[in-house]
């Protein structure tokens, strides 16, 4: 595991296997919060922060508590993973909320209801599950979760930029909102597929 492989991991998670456009995680906020660039960017940053923290903490719990404890009492405790993961994520979001409320009150009000909704952002739980499934070590887990967050922020910000332009276009009524967003996402996804060649 070299710096090179970590960089590949980063590019892989952020671009090639972008959490939103390739792995279909975090679609709900992607559709919901991508109307304005500054909100989208803010959401992207918040998600990156939560995802990195959660990725690391869940890794620590699995490898530092569940596995040794399971070994000690002779049981496979992996069935508790999902419950523990979601509890960790919910706590991390709570922490972020408290932090924002204290130090960035304007941002806190701007986010409104979307902040607690980060808990149900499948990108975060998805990243934790993937780290566990792929058996990454700690350094890889940190890189992967951070890269995943960056990729999410990238996708959501690009989408917001496009949607801001779309407000001046003549979108058919039935497609307004989620319809056209999904069609734009299809094109974005196709362009991100081009990154696959980078992995060689």
């Amino acid at each position: 595991m070299t710096i090179g492989s970590l960089i590949m991991l980063f590019i892989g998670a952020a671009l090639v296997n972008n959490l939103v456009l390739s792995m279909f995680l975090g679609i709900c906020p992607f559709l919901g919060v991508s109307r304005k660039v500054n909100m989208a960017f803010g959401m992207g940053c918040a998600v990156t922060f939560v995802i990195t923290l959660s990725g690391v903490v869940t890794w620590l719990i699995v490898h530092g508590v569940l596995v040794p404890l399971g070994g000690r009492i002779g049981l496979d405790l992996s069935f508790l993973k999902y419950v523990i993961f979601i509890a960790v994520i919910a706590s991390m979001v709570q922490l972020v909320e408290m932090y924002l409320r204290k130090f960035f009150p304007l941002l806190y009000t701007a986010f409104g209801v979307f902040l607690p909704l980060i808990t149900t952002n499948c990108a975060i739980l998805g990243a934790c599950l993937l780290i566990d499934l792929r058996d990454y070590n700690l350094l890889e887990a940190i890189t992967f979760s951070f890269a995943g967050g960056v990729g999410f922020a990238l996708a959501i910000t690009i989408m917001a930029g496009i949607r801001e332009h779309l407000t001046f276009s003549d979108v058919p009524r039935a497609l307004q909102g989620p319809g056209i967003t999904l069609l734009v996402a299809a094109i974005l996804a196709m362009s991100f597929m081009g990154f696959a060649g980078m992995m060689r």
Partner: protein, 208 residues
């Protein structure tokens, strides 16, 4: 069978199927919808798993509704859902091993599927057992229907088969893009457009 908020259990059931369809109208639960609809089999199994979880979650929430304090309700909903999802996931891995491998991480992701938490928050916490059960069934079946429509379109055009059985004629050039991410976004976008169009036309005055 009417309850506090005026809807009968039957009406709640029907709403979940069409007018309040979780995917096509409420726009919830998009992640699994896009990810696993590349084949009909995946779509059906995911729909069944989600239906199981939402029914169990609604029943438990409804049973304990008088005991759940407002501050802790989200935590309780999440714990309940996480538990039933784990059970569903284990069940699938034991009995439908191949499919569970294809569904991968998306079965545990049912935990954060907004659809289920939404039902607990909007219906089960205020309604009796039977109504919660009907609501869960309606939503679950509505979700499965949406998933299956997508699955049929994507598998038919992308792999030329339905449920693994080749259907399209020999010379058909598969539109592989349909089973890839762009195809998922495309199909869902068009489907939502179609549904919105139908809803605009049938509602009075053309108001959405």
């Amino acid at each position: 069978m009417a309850d506090g908020n005026g809807n009968s259990a039957a009406a709640q059931f029907k709403a979940g199927l069409w007018s309040d369809n979780p995917v096509l109208v409420q726009l919830l639960g998009m992640c699994p919808t896009l990810a696993i609809t590349n084949s009909v089999e995946n779509a059906l199994v995911m729909g069944a798993a989600a239906t199981f979880v939402v029914i169990c979650s609604n029943l438990v929430t409804s049973l304990l509704r008088s005991l759940i304090r407002p501050h802790v309700r989200i935590l309780i909903f999440t714990l309940t859902i996480a538990t039933f999802v784990t059970i569903a996931d284990r069940f699938l891995a034991a009995n439908l091993f191949e499919v569970s491998k294809k569904l991968g991480a998306f079965v545990p992701l049912i935990i954060v599927n907004c659809i289920i938490i939404c039902r607990a928050e909007v219906c089960a916490i205020k309604s009796g057992l039977f109504k919660s059960f009907c609501d869960a069934c309606g939503i679950g079946i509505g979700f499965t229907i949406a998933l299956t429509i997508l699955g049929v379109v994507r598998e038919l055009l992308g792999s030329g088969s339905l449920y693994g059985i080749p259907v399209m004629p020999e010379g058909f050039d598969k539109w592989v893009i349909m089973v890839l991410p762009p195809g998922a976004f495309l199909t869902l976008g068009i489907l939502i457009g179609v549904v919105n169009y139908a809803r605009l036309r049938t509602s009075p005055g053309g108001a959405a």
